[in-house]
Symmetry: C2
Subunit: 351 residues, 2 copies
């Protein structure tokens, strides 16, 4: 073995190389990573192992091009999802009823028992699905988990999606509900949460609330937010074909977002909120997983919030791909994730 080679450890592991290339605009060479075999991690629950062991989503590269095509696909998917909801509602002792609030369709999700300290609190849920999936009641899955595991009343926004409406239709509908609720509930008693496109919508709502001069809520929980739809973010590369849900930055979710954007710039902070000004945001808890294609775009939001002086808590779950912390209420890690969000809301709401 050659000691001179070990010196290169020093060059990598200490302070000498940093700034030499800062004034050099030559592009850096990319890193070539060989093919590899990933065993299913054994340091998560058996139920989570089963989710992680699922093969890559075979529909990851089926890319619909119009709102009408997406709606057909979404309706078919919704019918399947709907079959799973009655049993979950029963397990979690939650009831769901449709309403409209100032013309926007919502589902009011209510646990059988609401503890006294939660009776003046209200959660607003914006579901995920790349801005095109989970129409109607099929979008209430995460709201049911939050209501049942956290014992809060939740209003889940069934925002309009393509082809019924395009950007910023989803955001407009979520804001309509938020503004309506502000009339009867103090902002400090409201939290807003959602995952993936829902996580992005949570952030977009805060940007819009600031634009409109509205108070922000007491807390937010943007889960693995689609915070950058310009294909920027290192885990789009490192976790490509590692994440078994989204699979690739060139997959179905980006295609759907382009349809929703409908010609608007993808770098608009109301579509890629990581580029927005996060000063004045309320306390935020973010959740992601080590295999998540959006790991980078979750931690980038976390850092941006911290840089803006916002209290922000990051939770990263071992081995999980995109949004897997909310795939099944029976998985121990799901209970843990919603337990963290509940504790965070309990800590920050009402003050």
């Amino acid at each position: 073995m050659n000691l001179s080679k070990l010196f290169l450890v020093v060059l990598t592991a200490s302070a000498v190389t940093c700034c030499a290339a800062q004034s050099n605009d030559a592009p850096h060479a990319p890193l070539q990573v060989p093919a590899k075999t990933l065993p299913v991690p054994t340091d998560v629950s058996p139920a989570m192992q089963t989710l992680i062991a699922a093969p890559l989503n075979p529909a990851w590269n089926q890319l619909w091009k119009t709102g009408e095509e997406w709606r057909t696909a979404a309706n078919a998917q919704a019918a399947k999802t709907m079959q799973t909801l009655p049993a979950m509602r029963q397990r979690l002792h939650v009831s769901v009823r449709p309403e409209t609030i100032d013309g926007v369709r919502v589902y009011v999700v209510t646990p059988d028992v609401i503890p006294p300290e939660h009776r003046d609190k209200l959660l607003i849920h914006v579901h995920g699905g790349c801005y095109v999936l989970f129409p109607g009641e099929s979008g209430t899955s995460e709201a049911i988990m939050m209501a049942g595991l956290g014992h809060f009343k939740v209003i889940s926004v069934d925002y309009r999606m393509p082809p019924e409406a395009y950007f910023p239709g989803a955001l407009d509908d979520a804001m309509t509900v938020y503004k309506a609720e502000l009339k009867t509930t103090a902002p400090k008693n409201i939290a807003v949460f959602g995952t993936s496109a829902g996580g992005a919508l949570v952030l977009e709502m805060m940007l819009r609330a600031k634009q409109l001069g509205l108070p922000v809520p007491g807390a937010i929980a943007p889960g693995t937010p689609m915070s950058d739809v310009t294909k920027t973010g290192d885990s789009f590369y490192t976790n490509e074909k590692v994440d078994n849900v989204l699979v690739s930055r060139d997959g179905f979710c980006d295609a759907a977002t382009v349809v929703y954007a409908h010609g608007a710039s993808l770098s608009d902070p109301l579509l890629s909120p990581v580029y927005g000004d996060m000063h004045g945001f309320p306390p935020a808890i973010l959740t992601t997983g080590t295999r998540d294609l959006l790991l980078s775009n979750t931690v980038r939001v976390h850092r941006k919030l911290r840089e803006a002086g916002v209290e922000a808590q990051l939770e990263v779950f071992e081995g999980e791909s995109h949004a897997q912390y909310q795939f099944d209420d029976r998985v121990p890690e799901t209970k843990e994730a919603f337990g963290e969000i509940t504790a965070f809301f309990d800590q920050h709401l009402g003050h």
Copy 2:
């Protein structure tokens, strides 16, 4: 396109598949990931881009087998590191003097200016280097950054390493210093920090303090801790040959740890602290990066702390490999990482 394939998105993205295989002990099939090309991320500072663009550490698989061989290598590396320290001390306005505390070699690292609110506080630093690297003053790099960027007095423990001593020599020396400092400084005013093997030692110190009935300090900062040296942790696989510092779970750092362990079980919580009981630990801030080979073993500690009811804050930096947040004090992300640790100590010490 076939709608039935999109149904599989539902199967992946909702609640139906979870628990079917839980009672089935058949091993899960591993995931085959094709070779890929990782561009250097553009969403970090130019200085950090340069660190990320460094080729894989060419010494990653040079595996010394004895304490004597490691010491020879460590001394050569230390000579190189030492060359970088005077300029850093000057930049950060920090002075360093050697001392011994109850027979243990330490370096007292003092910033020129200590603000009034830090004058009764003391940080204890345990350096990294796989339990074999960075002997003597070469181990003070991170302590200098913490003292200079955080404006705290730091005592950096130059713990004995192979072949001078083996497990639990490093831990014993760190505990000797901690016990000595407890005689003159209230535990609430002490924080302990370190990275990699140093991060593991921070956790091991807390386990040992509990064993001995000693008070724990006011806060800890275990950076990307080597919390599991049994090669368990998903990012050992997902980030293999993605992390340009450690590169592989079968690399130099594991080989060095085996030498240090000297026959002790690698699953002993004093070598793999993720297996320890973390109830009663003080508030902790953990730092890692999305390309870190120890990403999983950092987030697993974070979750374990949270499950034990400990206040624990997780910071994950975009695109960074193992410990790169403390490679160079001039990198903006380095300042940000130490800024977070400083804010955390300010929040938790003294109470």
